[in-house]
């Protein structure tokens, strides 16, 4: 179960200055835990009170997991999780 986790901006520092990292896990929550094991502090950046921080959106391929099953969203081999900041427009 290889999942690619892509991050932008300040999050890249948390994974050693890279744009993406490979991780294992059957759910979004499990993958976040797996990345945090190798890059301690990653989870604290991304989550608050056990939920994804409201200023951060996590996309499974291109769909926001908040509208799927959040941290319990199931993953399959080859899926990509993108961690993106909430940006305004207008």
């Amino acid at each position: 179960m290889a999942i690619e986790v892509k991050v932008t901006g300040s999050m890249q520092k948390a994974i050693g200055g890279r744009k993406s990292v490979e991780a294992q896990g059957r759910t979004v929550g499990a993958v976040i835990d797996d990345v945090d094991k190798r890059h301690p502090g990653f989870k604290d950046l991304l989550m608050t009170d056990g939920q994804i921080h409201r200023f951060v959106n996590v996309y499974l391929n291109d769909e926001d997991v908040r509208f799927l099953r959040q941290l319990d969203t199931q993953l399959k081999d080859g899926d990509v999780l993108s961690v993106l900041p909430a940006l305004a427009g207008g």
């Binding site: 901006g9 200023f55 926001d64 509208f67 993108s82 993106l84 900041p85 427009g89 207008g90």
Partner: protein, 312 residues
Amino acid sequence: MLAESILDTIGNTPLVKLVRFSPKPGVNVYAKLEGQNPTGSVKDRIAIYMIRAAEASGELTPDKTVLEPTSGNTGISLAMVCRAKGYRLLCVLPDNVTQEREALLRAFGAEVVYAENATSTNAAVFKAQRMLEADPGTYFMPYQYGNANNPRAHYETTGPEILRDLPETDVFVAGLGTGGTLTGAGRYLKDNRPGVKVIAAVPHPGDLVQGLRAIEEGFIPPVLDESVLDGRIVVDSVSAFRMTKDLMEKEAIFAGISAGAVLTVALRTAARLERGNIVALLADGGWKYLSTGLWSRDYGESPEETRGKIWW
């Protein structure tokens, strides 16, 4: 159509069937062409609502300068309304908007300041808030991100227009910028046609717009009611550019780049449906993006000039 003022020509935009984008019998995609508004974007609707409400409440008086953070479209719409009504306008922009946006603002007589080193609209919001706090007697800030008249404009105009023109609307797709369109039109559709799905399209910030320096610089517009949304889909720039160009080539519709992102999401949704009508709100026309060269080049990747530009 006879109008007493340019301001009376806002709204009532056409809803056009995209025959060549409708994937199978029984599934239809329609585009609401907000580029047909007088300044060429959906933002004319909220500009007139916010200014009229502030005049009525007494918050906006002729001695005040209207101050607004914007990535462009709302500023241009406010510039038209302020010019028509005689108010001074100062817009705070991030520093990576297309050149047409500043040119249009200045053409309408607006003044422009840039938020320093601001690659996102979030930074323009924070700068405008600081300017207002420092000098509250000088400015009136409509503040599209927190002004209830933003979603109200869409609840009272955009939403009703859609159901008037297409009572059998099943899915509504629009871009997420302030959240006003999705919250207002989406809520109207749900109140009047239970079962309608509302999907947000958001731009991928890409590698050059580096996102935010810290999570704390994130920003959720207070007018966005996420409970209206049934999904949020991120679209990368290249897909949005391609679809914008496709829309021109297949349907002869000249729309802005966010329209390509919205249409990408609409078509994805269409592919999953057996039957139904999808309305995609195309927020602006293509005029403000001509400097990107989008329509005149053949490319596999995003052209250099468009990278890091804000087109939302």
